[in-house]
Amino acid sequence: MSTVPRFWRHIPQRYNLVGTHCKNCDEYYFPPRTICPTCRREARMEDHKFGGEGKVVTYTTIYNATDDFKRQTPYNLAIIELAEGPRLTGQVICSPSDIEIGMRVRPVFRILGRDGDRGIIYYGTKFVPA
């Protein structure tokens, strides 16, 4: 089980989809990056709050999860491309038979998981069909 700071420090990113934008090359990053891999030392990074609308690039439905996620199975996991370009991994709440590549999704605030049986319940962004 983890201590509180492990979850606390990512609240802006996981609750509100705050990532980064490089002013030098105009590329957007989520999850946030401190160093732009294109510009490296020339990077000029600023925070950027993503709207969260995006589309499914690829997906799976998980039937066999780690202990922390067992009670949620089966659940859909997808790589989602946000409107600004970056891709992230997140759950899509819908029937496994309804999810498909190219599907439009929007973000919702949900419980993500539990750190063990008696640990912290943590929250963040999941997605639903738009």
Partner: protein, 380 residues
């Protein structure tokens, strides 16, 4: 840089070795490799061991010192270094050993790998393996390792028309090969229907698309090629050992269905060795999941992008085909003790290139390639 050869190799039986500890496995494989190389302790200049997660699997870190101690080398104070690169820890240990010998710093070096995975429950093992993915931005949202490969498979199917049967054909072939390998965890043939009827793990991947949880260890002994004949009648020359990396998270990759690290490392290895992909007689590739083998044979250049599934089901990668792949049974059937896998691949290649692979021997094999993922590709 000096040319480097493998002068000896050993590998334990892979499987659920409930009676044996990590230490037992290390000692077993170490003795085999040193006897094969005809090397004494005084001659060993260094030791590299691939181990992904002793901490999580057996609550033991400091594996470098542990294996040097277990191998009886403590009084010689042989430098021993643990190498960690998730499932490619073994491949990287081998490459570190090659660098040490090639540079002239060391003469005789052992490159080993070990993982003891069955001392913990399945859920703990799955979580330990998930640590190879991005814990904060993949696993935190419920990703598992099979799920990441399932997403590669889903897009490969969507884009290239790869079929479920073609994925299953990888497992069927590798189980056939495993039946002819005495160290293989599984010694049973399976059918495409068996794979398609096995329980879903992460759609479209099923239980029989996934490599198992395995205990095992492997070791090879390296020496400068100019000294190799002093120890061995059949040294195997390492023509190149290359390594590359990519983003940690799958979602950040340039292309979800290509492992650019494989493309980059194999290009480097072909450049260094001066041979071409058509010169390769056989390959051991990283089939942690069936889709992994399909993507690997594409990214290594054996087949065009998108053609991997068809190649497997048409027998191109079977023993007797154009490019036999995973004659050992691969990770799928032979087993995948993560830290040991890269060294086991080298062990299989040593047997094949010496002509000692028995019923699974590839006739006339002269050039082999091994490919260990999480970021490594070595070849000889």
């Amino acid at each position: 840089m000096r040319s480097v050869s493998i002068i000896g190799a050993g590998c334990t039986k892979f499987g659920e070795r409930w009676d044996d500890s990590l230490r037992d496995l290390v000692v077993e494989t170490g003795i085999m490799a040193l006897e094969d190389a005809n090397v004494s302790g005084e001659e060993i200049d260094g030791l590299y061991v691939g181990n992904m997660s002793g901490g999580q699997f057996v609550s033991q870190e400091h594996i470098g010192a542990l294996i040097s101690d277990c191998a009886g080398l403590s009084r010689l104070h042989v430098p021993s270094t643990r190498v960690e690169a998730a499932c490619a820890s073994g491949g990287l240990a081998l490459r570190q050993g090659v660098l040490a010998v090639a540079s002239g710093y060391s003469d005789v070096v052992i490159a080993a790998g070990v993982e003891k995975m069955t001392d913990v429950t399945g859920g703990v093992a799955a979580d330990a393996l998930a640590a190879a993915a991005d814990r904060e931005w993949e696993c935190f949202f419920g990703a598992t390792f099979p799920a990441l490969y399932a997403m590669i498979a889903r897009l490969h199917i969507h884009r290239y028309g790869t079929t479920r049967e073609q994925l299953a054909a990888v497992a069927v072939k590798n189980h056939q090969n495993g039946c002819n390998n005495p160290i293989s965890q599984y010694q049973m043939e399976i059918t495409i229907d068996d794979v398609l009827r096995s329980p879903l793990v992460a759609d479209p991947l099923r239980v029989l698309d996934c490599s198992p949880i395995t205990d095992g260890a492997a070791a090879v002994v390296l020496a400068p090629t100019e000294m190799a004949r002093k120890f061995s009648d059949g040294p195997i020359r390492i023509l190149a050992a290359a390594q590359a990396s990519d983003t940690l998270a799958l979602h950040d990759r340039r292309d979800i269905t290509t492992l650019d690290a494989t493309v980059s490392a194999s290009r480097k290895a072909f450049d260094m060795s001066g041979i071409e992909v058509k010169d390769v007689d056989l390959a051991e590739v990283h089939d942690a999941f069936t889709i992994g083998e399909i993507v690997a044979i594409e990214d290594l250049g054996f087949v065009e992008k998108g053609e991997g599934g068809r190649a497997v089901i048409e027998g191109v990668t079977a023993i007797g085909g154009d490019i036999p792949v995973n004659t050992s049974g691969g990770l799928k059937a032979c087993g995948h003790p993560v830290g040991a896998t890269g060294i086991k691949q080298a062990y299989e290649m040593v047997l094949q290139l010496r002509g000692e692979a028995g019923k699974r021997q590839v006739e006339g094999a002269e050039v082999g390639l091994t490919h260990n993922v999480a970021g490594a590709a070595g070849r000889r």
